[in-house]
């Protein structure tokens, strides 16, 4: 009798332990499905925030032509889109996302198409470090956060060049295996936990972003040296040699095709850099990038704007990210030298 009771007690506890593991695994599975298939707000709130702002700007002037600028942090912090709006009747929107490279750009274009967001001119940043195959790994490998991709969006990573795909795919896998850990902040926000009184809590992660997607950076001067050293540690190895990496190049061509498919014209931009970076180019690297630009112009037939020397060194804080005055200067020149001509070309072709 006692033996039977002991066995039943053991069985009860064994079942409880397995139910714990099973229930935990099931909860993660359900959350993973919700995050992956159901809720873009949880999976990629930064994108949703920008898309909503873009929709709002379009709704304000539904007849205006729309120019959308996709790129990395260099664009997000370095292009004051509101200045172009003031100068013309076009809606210009900065869709820069820190860490965004060619892979994420194609994903964003897909999402915009699915959401029915219209754009007439697509301005694409080409940051040559994303396209350089000479390093041990590409920048997309290091910077692309796979967690923000759905399973369908991440599937493309399987064929995205072996040194590229492992990092983002690993991040995607961990995020889906344990969504309550990786997407914890987003889930917490969705549940409205820890609501800070306005202006009293920590700065929300994607603030401040202005209504046109621009993220002005105010970096204290005593931090500039530290950030400059960090930027050079991160990017200097890519300036020695240049071999075009076919995987990101393929994605760039795909993005151009997507934009053209949506009826938009494409402008490629090489964002401003300070002399601290510009003097690092070896002849091999310079020639390689020139060849890539030539192919874009001649073979792909897009306008390429090389703006690397457009802004004075004083406009940067770390030799490649622009401060607000630099972002304003770049936006002004970009407007007159690239955007207006593009808008005129488009108007002519329409006429």
């Amino acid at each position: 009798m006692a033996d039977c009771r002991l066995k039943s007690w053991r069985r009860h506890n064994r079942r409880a332990a397995f139910w714990l593991l099973g229930a935990f695994a099931a909860s993660q599975l359900v959350l993973a499905v919700v995050v992956d298939q159901g809720s873009l707000e949880i999976r990629d709130p930064e994108y949703v925030l920008l898309q909503d702002k873009l929709r709002d700007r379009e709704a304000e002037a539904p007849d205006n032509p729309v120019a959308v600028f996709l790129g990395s942090s260099r664009v997000a912090h370095g292009f004051d889109a509101a200045r172009s709006r003031a100068e013309s009747d076009a809606t210009v929107f900065n869709f820069g996302i820190p860490g965004s490279g060619p892979y994420l750009q194609t994903v964003i274009l897909d999402r915009l198409a699915q959401a029915g967001v219209r754009y007439d001119i697509l301005v694409l940043e080409v940051l040559h470090t994303f396209y350089n195959a000479t390093g041990p790994r590409s920048l997309d490998h290091s910077l692309l956060d796979g967690a923000r991709l759905s399973a369908g969006e991440a599937a493309g990573l399987l064929h995205y060049g072996s040194p590229v795909r492992t990092g983002p795919l690993r991040r995607w896998f961990y995020a889906r295996a344990l969504p309550s850990n990786r997407h914890q902040a987003e889930l917490r926000d969705a549940l409205q936990i820890d609501v800070f009184r306005p202006g009293r809590g920590p700065t929300p992660p994607f603030e401040p972003i202005d209504p046109f997607g621009f993220r002005p950076l105010e970096i204290p001067t005593d931090k500039w040296e530290e950030f400059t050293a960090l930027a050079h540690r991160q990017y200097d190895p890519y300036f020695a040699r240049f071999r075009l990496d076919p995987a990101p190049w393929g994605r760039l061509l795909m993005a151009i095709d997507q934009a053209r498919g949506a009826g938009a014209d494409v402008v490629i931009v090489l964002m401003p850099e300070a002399t601290g970076f510009r003097r690092l180019y070896t002849s091999d690297c310079r020639d390689g990038i020139a060849e890539m630009i030539r192919r874009l112009r001649d073979e792909v037939g897009v306008t390429v704007v090389d703006a690397r020397d457009w802004v004075e060194d004083s406009g940067f804080y770390d030799h490649h990210h622009l401060l607000p005055p630099g972002a304003a200067a770049f936006a002004d020149r970009f407007h007159s030298d690239a955007l207006l001509p593009a808008l005129e070309r488009r108007a002519k072709s329409r006429n």
Binding site: R15, G22, L178, S180, Q184, D194, F196
Partner: protein, 479 residues
């Protein structure tokens, strides 16, 4: 390696798996020793060597005590152990405190010295393992136990990773027999261990860390906040320190159960205490019982009259305050606890002839009032525990008791009330389960396994989701 990080979960899973796959008893002990050393070395490998070295010294001293017969020799060996253990504790933990206090005193007397603090790394958990080593050598000296012959058992007693850095303070006579005992995989024990890990993670991540959001900004600048915000922060800190430390203790107990060891319970619903003496029997039990056995009773305890007892209480609790941290606010906090305990004894003495009043206080309403007063005294005294300095603590208390306008709490209050509700429900549930030794077993047995497992999983998921950002270190790690 904090208990509530993925790193620790992987570490624990690997250790538990290897431990139960190892078929022999002694190699299991060695495996736990290696794991414990790795665990401690994840903070600092040199300090891990230091702990090991002092533990070996304590082992040899205790063996020496067993070997010699003359009381004088035994006393000499005990003094050697105490000097070594307390000397290291004083050096690592109190050198800067003593020196800065000395300089301040000299400057107050008219001298002009500038104090430059020495760069001494505080070994994690030194206050805990020092007390464990002392209880062993004192017990051997008193003849309450024989010195253990197996060095690996003794090292495991000190280094066992679930209790190494923040307790519970384990007694050698409780632990060493467990090290020697053959262990079998036990599903009830595994279930209990996993349950404790889930509850501990929830307390730490979902409540303690969240309360920190209410606490930190207010304690950083109390003069800017309103009286209500200061009271909120003080209550939040009381809940934070409880959930942080009891959460840690639950996870320590849970980890030990998974390895077939049982550690002492450290907290028993302390906020249901109806007086401060009861509070200290329910709060950090392993420390308060250690202080009782190795400090209060050797000082004379309550054997030499009313006022000598009061004196012993004040000394014991002041030293308990100093044990918590090398700061005057901890000393004053400890002294305040001593005053409260002494005051409670005086109150009890005054009540002796007042039978009607005693009966009134024993009614449900009277009990609720006493619980509320005890909680309030904890909230007020814990202000000194959290304050950056005595002056800051004084500012906070002044703000709490002199009504003032100012900033409100940085978060909206619903997170606070939900956390308060969770602690209240936890206490009521704990009270129900601990009504008799068999109640929790009956409740556990009668609850479907699915519900038990799902509830524990829900606690873990909730803890993971609602924790406020980066995990904070456990408060008691600094001690």
């Amino acid at each position: 390696m904090l208990f509530c990080t993925g790193e620790y979960v992987l570490f624990l899973a690997a250790v538990v798996t290897l431990y139960w796959l190892t078929p022999w008893r002694r190699p299991r002990v060695w495996l736990l020793l290696v794991a414990s050393f790795v665990f401690y070395a994840s903070w600092n490998k040199w300090l891990a060597l230091l702990v090991t070295a002092t533990s070996v010294a304590d082992y040899l001293i205790a063996r020496g005590m067993d070997a010699v017969q003359r009381p004088r020799d035994r006393r000499g060996l005990l003094i050697a152990s105490l000097v070594m253990n307390l000397g290291l504790l004083c050096y690592f933990k109190y050198t800067n405190f003593f020196l800065s206090s000395l300089y301040e005193t000299l400057n107050a007397l008219g001298a002009s010295y500038t104090f430059h603090s020495l760069s001494i790394i505080l070994p994690v958990g030194i206050s805990f393992y020092t007390f464990e080593a002392i209880n062993y050598t004192v017990d051997v000296y008193r003849g309450k136990m024989r010195a253990v012959r197996q060095l690996d058992y003794f090292l495991l007693f000190i280094l066992f990773f679930p209790h190494l850095v923040a307790g519970p303070i384990v007694r050698a006579k409780d632990f060493l027999p467990q090290a020697a005992r053959r262990k079998r995989w036990s599903w009830p024990r595994v279930g209990l261990g996993l349950g404790l890990l889930a509850v501990g993670a929830f307390k730490k991540l979902a409540i303690a860390d969240r309360m920190g959001l209410f606490v930190d900004p207010v304690f950083a600048a109390p003069d800017q906040y309103s009286t209500v915000a200061c009271w909120t922060a003080a209550i939040a800190f009381t809940l934070q320190v409880y959930c942080d430390f009891s959460g840690y203790s639950d996870m320590a107990l849970g980890s030990a159960h998974l390895l077939g060891y049982k550690l002492v319970i450290n907290f028993r619903m302390p906020f249901l205490s109806a007086n401060i003496s009861e509070f200290w029997r329910r709060w950090h039990i392993s420390l308060s019982s250690w202080l009782r056995d190795y400090l209060f009773i050797p000082l004379g305890g309550s054997r030499h009259g009313f006022w000598r007892t009061q004196r012993n209480l004040l000394i014991t609790m002041t030293l308990a305050g100093l044990w918590h941290g090398a700061n005057w606010q901890f000393v004053v906090w400890g002294l305040l606890q001593g005053v409260l305990l002494a005051g409670h004894r005086i109150f009890q003495k005054l009540l002796e002839p007042l039978k009607g009043m005693r009966e009134e206080l024993a009614t449900p309403l009277g009990t609720i009032v006493r619980i509320a007063l005890t909680f309030a005294s904890c909230v007020v005294s814990f202000v000194l525990f959290r304050a950056q300095s005595l002056r800051a603590g004084g500012d906070m208390l002044a703000r709490m008791f002199i009504p003032a306008d100012g900033l409100r709490t940085p978060l909206f209050m619903h997170a606070f009330w939900v956390s308060v509700g969770a602690v209240v429900i936890g206490h009521m549930f704990g009270r129900y389960l601990s009504a008799s030794p068999f109640v929790w077993q009956r409740a556990w047995r009668n609850t479907p396994a699915l519900v038990l497992g799902a509830a524990a999983a829900a606690l873990i998921v909730l803890a993971l989701v609602v924790r406020p950002g980066a995990t904070r270190a456990f408060i008691y790690f600094q001690f």
